[in-house]
């Protein structure tokens, strides 16, 4: 039987230290004090001194609290019974359902052998032109949504979750406002998607350490579903809270901070989670969409910065729109050559012209005279923002491409756009050109 220890040497932050022997690194323990029982995990061994992070926090723990080591690392149950259920970061039910303890699996398992991965080939259609046309989401991609606190990132995630063609949705909520948690649950339920979803939710009111477990537990479950040939979409919101929880523990453990107090291994810690996104050779896939709120709208803040280096692109959410600059889907080139031949050209041309529009706006703001070219750009930019950029636009990719051609043709001559001559011949709307002729005659 497992030994019980009753003498806690040190309590600092959410970390307690006991003297114990035969304890394994990362082993789980139960800490029982008069305030209740909590799980705790070993995070350092130093001779007989064992440091543990207590999931429920150290508040109210007495020096004579019971510490019982369980002989295994953190685990979670995995079965179809998880679907439709809501759990906390430590895996206990948050809804009124029964606890599930069958088929336990370790969380935070080893990484996938690159030789068993395949190149992602499937586009995830979302019906949002800013994603489908300009930054196509690809199955097995890991993509963060960089956002300032007030932006509608959770509704965006929920909408993508519903419209994307996936088998299983797993939501990992970290430091979520209780309202937001209810929003996700109700939204999925209303649209009949809760039955294929599992929610692991840590709300802002819950103990910090549980927040650390959410990505691991969500991804461990996702991995099992993927191995059963399912296409899984994992939504993580908000990873900045996760990083802050890491920071808290690191500082408590007196680690040397590297950048704005974050631990030196922040990159590796984030990467270990994001890299779980995978397209398995001969099995399913995991796609990760994660919200990273940028403190002070600063993309060079360590959390978005490290995230950007790990993920395969990013969506910038600003002023309720997905910004075309800065937003990027690094995997889009794997799929957008097989959608329609004009996809890439439309994507590049429209963005380059939109960049021109932005420059013109600056010039206009400074009161310079607008040239003929500037006026064309202004007309173009406004239509682009209204008809394609707006997040409420919901049209399939092909329609969005046609719309792109129409906007171009309404605003420019073919040569002004830099579109290859062959594509102009094939796609440039003829109707628009003819419609303009009578005007020329009238002059």
């Amino acid at each position: 039987m497992h030994k019980i220890y009753r003498r806690i040497e040190q309590i600092a932050g959410n970390v307690i230290t006991v003297e114990a022997s035969g304890v394994a690194y990362r082993e789980l323990a139960q800490v029982t004090s008069h305030r209740g029982t909590s799980l705790a995990q070993v995070i350092r061994l130093d001779g007989e001194r064992v440091s543990l992070q207590v999931f429920a926090g150290s508040r109210g723990i007495a020096t004579d609290a019971q510490v019982r080591f369980l002989g295994h690392p953190m685990q979670t149950s995995f079965s179809e019974a998880l679907l439709g259920r809501v759990f906390t970061g430590s895996g206990t039910p948050r809804d009124k359902g029964p606890p599930i303890a069958e088929n336990m699996i370790n969380i935070g398992g080893p990484s996938v052998n690159p030789a068993k991965r395949i190149i992602p080939r499937h586009m995830v259609r979302t019906g949002i032109p800013m994603i489908d046309v300009f930054n196509t989401l690809v199955e097995s991609q890991k993509l963060p949504v960089f956002s300032v606190a007030g932006e509608p990132y959770n509704p965006l995630l929920a909408r993508i979750a519903l419209q994307a063609e996936v088998d299983i949705i797993i939501l990992g909520g970290m430091g979520l406002k209780h309202d937001d948690y209810l929003f996700f649950r109700d939204y999925l339920e209303e649209h009949g998607a809760l039955a294929r979803a599992v929610l692991f939710v840590h709300t802002a009111a819950d103990p910090t350490v549980e927040c650390l477990m959410v990505p691991d537990i969500s991804l461990a479950v996702a991995e099992q579903f993927a191995l059963q040939n399912k296409r899984v979409l994992v939504l993580l919101t908000d990873m900045t809270n996760f990083a802050d929880a890491l920071k808290e523990i690191a500082i408590t453990m007196e680690q040397i901070p590297s950048n704005r107090g974050y631990p030196g291994d922040l990159y590796s810690q984030l990467a270990a989670r994001y890299e779980k996104a995978v397209d398995f050779d001969t099995a399913g896939s995991i796609t990760i969409l994660a919200v990273t709120t940028m403190p002070g709208d600063d993309v060079t803040h360590p959390v978005p910065d490290n995230t950007g280096y790990i993920t395969e692109g990013q969506f910038y959410l600003r002023n309720g729109r997905i910004e075309p600059f800065g937003s990027l889907s690094r995997l889009k080139q794997l799929v957008n050559n097989r959608t329609r031949e004009d996809h890439r050209t439309i994507m590049n041309t429209m963005i380059q012209l939109y960049a021109g529009y932005k420059e013109t706006l600056e010039k206009q703001a400074m009161g310079f005279r607008m040239s003929a070219w500037d006026r064309k750009l202004l007309k173009y930019g406004e239509r682009f923002e209204k008809e394609l950029m707006d997040l409420s636009v919901n049209i399939p990719l092909e329609e969005a491409l046609d719309l792109g051609w129409r906007i171009l043709a309404d605003c420019f001559e073919p040569a002004e756009t830099g579109v290859p001559t062959a594509l102009v011949k094939k796609f440039w709307p003829k109707a628009a050109a003819e419609a303009e002729e009578p005007v020329a005659v009238a002059k």
């Binding site: 061994l45 890439r344 001559t421």
Partner: protein, 587 residues
Amino acid sequence: MSENIGRIVGVNGNLLTVEFDSPVTQNEVGFATLGDLKLKSEVIRIRGQRAELQVFEDTTGLKVGDQVEFTGNLLAVELGPGLLTQIYDGLQNPLPALAEKCGFFLQRGTYLDSLDRQRKWAFTPSAKKGDTVQAGDKLGNVPEGIFEHRIMVPFSLHGKHTVEEVAAKGEYTLEDVVARLKGEHGEAVEVRMLQRWPVKFPIKAYAERLRPVEPLITKVRIVDTFFPVARGGTYCIPGPFGAGKTVLQQITSRYAEVDIVIIAACGERAGEVVETLREFPELTDPRTGKSLMERTLIICNTSSMPVAAREASVYTAVTIAEYYRQMGLNVLLLADSTSRWAQALREVSGRLEEIPGEEAFPAYLESVIAAFYERGGLVKLRDGSTGSVTIGGTVSPAGGNFEEPVTQSTLKVVGAFHGLSRERSDARRYPAIHPLESWSKYPSVVDDEDVRFARQGLRHGNEVGQMMKVVGEEGTSLDDFIVYLKAEYLDAVYLQQDAFNAVDAATPAARQQYVFGRLVKILRTKMSFDDKDAARKFFQALTQVTKDWNRAPMPGDGKTADAEGEKQFKDLEARIEKMVEEVTDYA
């Protein structure tokens, strides 16, 4: 080897504190025992009777009191025929073989032979009995794919040796003895095709190091023409995330004119490695007509794999690069990203509680980076042939700020700097190498005078552009405006390259010389226009035709002889000339 067993007294992340009785060596390899598993680790600090070891695996489950077996050997790689086409992890474990054994996931504590012990190689001897040889000299060779793989006197031998016996022509495995040597003091040495070399020591079995001067053609125009790389040189690509560092590396690994490409994916995404390892076998190398994989070797320690092995991976890669250099081959080592490697150093340093330097990087960061890049170089071997290791490393500066320690330490030691800019990548100008901030100390493939003129034009155009932001277009003279348009034109049709177009993606040196010569001529042409709108319209049209020209195969390009396409090339060139002629100011 005597048994040397230590005992774990502390575990902190991937760092073990171990008490030992018999002597241990700094950087020697130890195995921590966890049940049936043995976890590879390396001694990184010794204090009194305690050694600190970084474990190359996840340490979950290790206990105080668990045993650590010290091996007495430094961390080493296996060298021999069969390395090419392989995909190794940072410790030279073959990943495909590992996948066969363990399935989808990388199980810790599983170590396989890096090279196939069963496979037989057709050995042809070249040394004779009685020859005097020393470390690195050729004894014979075996064919490895498209190369003659030299079997050499082990690099670890000191002094001169006499060949006693060389195996006859025939088939041998890596572990068969192919030669017997006798040292100056009569000691007998058996030579096998397989040898080991500790990764943290450079291989120095050559006659002399030479200055790198010959350009290494990457077929990326902005690189070869403006910021060239030399064979045996070093360069770095710093850039914020999303600016296209990895894409640039991938393009280089595909098209660079070298014999062997070693890709060290160090702490980056697994997806990128997958793209390479799934696509390369399908692509043909235009130089040899064989699969591109035959000249490629991948060392991959992706970001989710253990951190300590990430640090080892760049050394594993450079050691293998040096090994092939010893055969008189030109090797290109692409390390992506050296920042992740530096971060691995930082993580370990933090756990050792060393006094931190800037941004918590260890104080020895600079010397470690310098020592790594210094392993690149052009060397003359003792048989008179030359070989080179070119190192190109990406740097991922925190916040895209080049002032940070890793970028700065790297800039001090490299010969070329390809700084990627967020502005250019946001404007979809690829490759996003900044044409004004980057530099190179190596000679270009085109005429130096032309390059100077073009750079001058770019700088001048940029100045006009900046000024125009303040005084507006109407405040700019038509002449200045033309300067600006010319710079934009050069940027659009030469600096930028369409990576997805088969022709435009890779521009051989000959085509660069030809096209750049034509473009400089256009830039030098004095032009006259009625007004700015007319000038802009002209350059928009010219840009489009020139881009079409870039996409047309050039006669004698080595690409498939497509008569249609070649005619197009000539036609477009004629059109461009005619267009320019129409606006030329002959006054």
